[in-house]
């Protein structure tokens, strides 16, 4: 029993640097494995749509006809399942989070299909 058991701790923290950092003036250090956001290596993508089918939150839309890969940043929960199952390994997890904003953000990425066209021409 006793009073003021915490006073030692409080006195010490009074003369210490703050435990928090001065974000955003001091930039955040991202961890080596931090799951921030999904990035795509567009030329590698074959528009198979596996990522869109397996996404638990339906954040991805892949259109074969329009050759686009679309991600709803606000729906994506960064589980990294698409990165794991992508047959061409063209998706990757970037460390930085999507910047905060006032509105929802959807990124539309056009997939170059030049490679495929040449093979069609060949036939």
């Amino acid at each position: 029993m006793g009073n003021f058991k915490i006073s030692g701790l409080i006195l010490r923290s009074l003369f210490r640097r703050p435990a928090t950092s001065g974000y955003p003036a001091v930039p955040k250090e991202w961890g080596e494995r931090t799951r921030g956001r999904i990035e795509i290596d567009a030329p590698e993508c074959i528009l198979c749509g596996t990522c869109a089918r397996k996404c638990p939150t339906e954040a991805l839309v892949v259109s074969k006809a329009e050759a686009t890969w679309e991600i709803d940043r606000m729906r994506c929960v960064q589980c990294g399942h698409c990165v794991e199952i992508c047959p061409k390994k063209c998706l990757r997890m970037a460390k930085e989070y999507t910047a905060p904003g006032y509105e929802g953000r959807t990124d539309l990425i056009e997939i170059p299909v030049a490679k495929k066209k040449t093979s069609d021409d060949g036939i």
């Binding site: 931090t34 799951r35 638990p56 960064q78 794991e84």
Partner: protein, 366 residues
Amino acid sequence: MRGVNDLGKRTVIPFGPQHPILPEPVHLDLVIEDEKVIEAIPSIGFIHRGLEKLAEVREYPEMVYVIERICGICSFGHGLGYVTAVEGLMGVEVPERADYLRTMWHEMSRIHSHMLWLGLTADSFGFESLFMHTWKVRERIMNMFDLTTGGRVIHSVCKVGGVRKDVGGEMLERIASEVRDIRKETKELTKVFLNDTSVKNRLCGVGILSEDDARDLCAVGPVARASGINQDLRLNGMCKYGELGFEPVTGKSGDCYARCKVRILELGQSLDMVEKITSVLPDGPVEVPVKGPLPTGEFMMRLEQPRGEAFYYVKGNGTKHLERMRVRTPTNMNLPSMVRMLQGCDLADVPVIILTIDPCISCTER
């Protein structure tokens, strides 16, 4: 029997779902007589999400990411419970190293959950500096999660057949050294929780749940253990608790102080277990490919989460989707005990008592 004239003294005070001390949407109708609570009727159901139903449209390997998001605090436990249930259904044996890593993460999540609880309890009886200091220490374990799994809160490391990420030697050393620091810092904090007069005044003898009541009301987890029931699901053969020589902690008095003490002792135990795992982790693969027929049959599985016993029931029908998936969370089972504890307490102690069962209504309503 009470006469008609006595009725005037009774007041019904609505408590929650929005309350400064309680970040959880639970509503209580408190029947008050002269500052004493006579009866409490809980009502939940403000945020029922029906995640169990989602198992019928998501394939079983992806469902784990949904299950993990039932709750932010016991996220790892939910993921672990679900994958173990599906592994039981399909007869998958996970490699030794994966099992040890799961045990380590599960214990780390217990540390962070108990620290969160200690902080919130300090906050509930108005000890703000203790709250801040507890959460400062908790931040260290969150950083360890970020380092090893890539997520501070939602870890997404469990998968059917093992774990998704391996933890190398350098990381293990960092965890071990961090655990030693945390132990030093928590020692100082627990001294305040267990010995300070102002804290004891708010916790000792408040919200008593006797052993018989705890049995009758089917209490689980630290609430049951604080009332003297030796019941810990970590002894049911899952993960590596047997190899780590784990024995449950129990209290005696069943009041808020006993619940606080049980959690503090468990915290130390978990720190010891994490440190031990960093030195005994065997080499080998961390996952096995899941082959064979799609899940059929049914499997009932439970595990000890930081808040108590959690249930996972899975029923397969030979497709990639589960036919029924059921999660029963510890708070579900502790709500009746909370109602009993509230009977006869002072109105001012209501927030403290509610917090000592460590309620998670978001878990409860899945």
